[in-house]
Symmetry: C2
Subunit: 409 residues, 2 copies
């Protein structure tokens, strides 16, 4: 009977995939204000010093630090006020010896001054003079030119996903447009004679399409653009036609369908027909998710995912998401994860990666990972889980009470 | 000189805020397929059993388990094939004693059958009969009616943020629309005579607006809709007019501006003028972020954030984001966080919460949190940081090598 022909470990399958898949990162230029969560396509260097002028960090008086040395409440330094630095204006004041200028937080420190004494540490004598009650050091309460960032400094590397503070940092430098990777197009094909669209009535024997929409959400989260090709009957000509169209129009093709042997034969045949080098792995040594097909055709990754929703999600995270990230040129940030103590022993078999769905619970201030037992063909196994714990390829399970990393969904 | 009048700890300020702020959650009905990351406004219960029919989990023969008891390779059970269950069809087959029906993975288990023997454990005798080489238990290889979820079972609670697998779970039940919270409108006002729009040229003394766009991004991440009111000069009538408009049009108002004492006086006056009960905290015992104003006017939270970008982000996470989540009715999921070892001693003062920006580095497979030293008025302190470590109100700092939780940006 038909079985899996070329079972590989997930790392081996990925390595093989990458040998035949040289991602071409397509780029576009967009407004920086629209670039949240987009991936930079080129490194950015600073076009200027930030700040471009010495700024005061306090409300006070810009002074020459040497004029305040030794000052105290009992023996204050006496300085002449030569003016006020207006906010948002270039100050043309020029301090001489024994002179001071009123300056506000964020205001420009005028020429001749090298420190700012806080207003709390001064006493007004009259309109044109103050007493300084504490000395200031050179540079005290001043942000120097280029202290935030200097002209030519690397700001952000290619592959970085832009966060709110990055947007702020770019705009601070007047960088109002950025070149980012376009979201890769991920074609999603659902197949199965028993599968119907979610808004259609079902009769016993039929099930509603779950995977198309779950995979579309996962694609969006990874930074891709999902393109749904609908539900295709389990017939070779129909599936072939849709797969070829998706392969033409998309950067990645994902077939999600029934898990029956007949379907697997059908889809492996259709995938093999899309082009060279074709099927690289037919079966992965992972649970759940063994009935996976990993292929490349004409430089584009093609995945045949198991029909079970839990398996499909595990394999998406393991294979499809990294392929999307590769097409974005994205460097990986630390993942969404928490450390938790395992609430039960988990058995496993060496030579196979296991992915266990868990709920994260807080007990007396400690996080616990509670395995959600449920068959991988049950969607509510996923709905009731907060994340996944990986049991390594060569581990024989993990004991209760051990700290594990939960990768959050 | 003017100072902070009512300094409170962040928990006290939040408690006081919530006494005057009873969030009214506005809802809307949208398509489930568009509901990724939206917050459910009402709990959902299952309208049906899932699956609605007993499904096979393997390719094989539906049988009456009792007919296979004691079967082995040497003494197989002999069964008569009465037909095949077509995928996606309601089967009208009815098994009698000694009968079997061919069934595929995901197919309906016909009446009279209570288990499925895998095809691998059978041998075809002729077109109408098989030998079963191993017994099956009752229920083996069958997903029972309602095994995934039962009619009336709670699916998801109000306040839950919808993930890809939740979308799949809802669609599996034919739930094609959901009632979710509308994104709260967050009015963002930037103020300061020295602040100019990022696309404008600057002269020494001026700085580009950082905070409006950083805060807009943080608002989006929290699930709110940012509404930018532009840059307002440091003049009471102008700021008052814009603040009143934002207060009228939005659910939350955030003023972000200079940190000078004169500005703080101006903004506290403008905020106090928006309505009762007015300013609840004028100063927070947190570093960075002390010059914060927390207020409620007419049931709407109003925040005066410090002008420094690092302080503004810390206070946003601490106060504004929870207010947005409250208006969404959102229950909190485990946060994006990693455990890491602190790479240096951090000093702190009891009686004040400290938030330290850190970079997360991997060294020999362990994560380390490396404090990013930089003044909180430097935007690149944030750009170079991966997350924040909190030093508790009553801690006197944390020692190098201690495991800390890093809340990722």
């Amino acid at each position: 009977m038909p079985e899996f022909f070329t079972v590989r470990t997930p790392p081996d399958a990925w390595k093989l995939l990458r040998q035949h898949f040289a991602p071409h990162i397509r780029t576009e230029q967009i407004s920086t204000t629209d670039a949240l969560d987009r991936v930079l396509a080129a490194p950015l260097a600073s076009p200027q010093d930030l700040p471009e002028f010495a700024r005061s960090t306090v409300d006070g008086y810009a002074v020459n630090a040497a004029d305040t040395y030794g000052a105290s409440s009992s023996l204050p330094a006496f300085l002449t006020i030569i003016g006020e630095v207006a906010m948002g204006r270039t100050s043309d004041l020029q301090l001489g010896v024994g002179e001071a200028a009123l300056v506000h937080t964020g205001g420009m420190v005028p020429a001749g001054a090298n420190g700012v004494v806080m207003v709390e540490n001064t006493q007004i004598v009259d309109k044109t003079s103050i007493e300084v009650l504490r000395p200031v050091a050179e540079g005290e309460n001043v942000i120097q030119i280029g202290e935030d960032i200097r002209t030519g400094d690397a700001i952000l590397a290619a592959g970085h996903s832009l966060r709110p503070q990055d947007i702020g940092g770019l705009l601070a430098l007047g960088i109002t447009t950025v070149t980012v990777a376009r979201p890769p197009r991920v074609g999603i094909i659902s197949s199965g004679d028993e599968v119907v669209a979610p808004d259609q009535p079902v009769v016993p024997g039929q099930v509603r399409d779950i995977n198309s929409y779950t995979l579309a959400g996962l694609t969006r989260r990874a930074g891709g653009q999902p393109i749904l090709y609908g539900i295709v009957p389990d017939e070779q000509p129909a599936l072939e036609a849709v797969a070829q169209q998706a392969h033409l129009e998309c950067d990645i093709v994902v077939l999600s369908a029934g898990s029956s042997v007949s379907y697997r034969d059908l889809s492996v045949g259709v995938i093999a027909g899309l082009g060279a080098p074709g099927v690289l792995a037919h079966g992965l040594s992972v649970r759940p998710g063994k009935p996976t097909i990993v292929a490349v055709a004409g430089g584009k990754p093609i995945f045949g995912l198991p029909g079970n929703p839990v398996s499909a999600m595990v394999i998406f995270d393991l294979m499809v998401s990294p392929a999307i990230r590769a097409l974005l040129g994205a460097t990986e940030q630390p993942k969404q994860q928490v450390q938790a103590k395992l609430a039960r022993n988990i058995a496993s078999t060496a030579g196979r990666e296991d992915y266990v769905q868990v709920r994260v619970e807080e007990r007396d201030g400690e996080l616990w990972a509670v395995p959600v037992f449920g068959k991988s063909n049950l969607i509510y196994t996923l709905v009731h889980a907060d994340g996944t714990v990986k049991i390594d390829l060569n581990a024989n399970g993990v004991r209760e009470g051990v700290w594990v990393t939960v990768f959050l969904h």
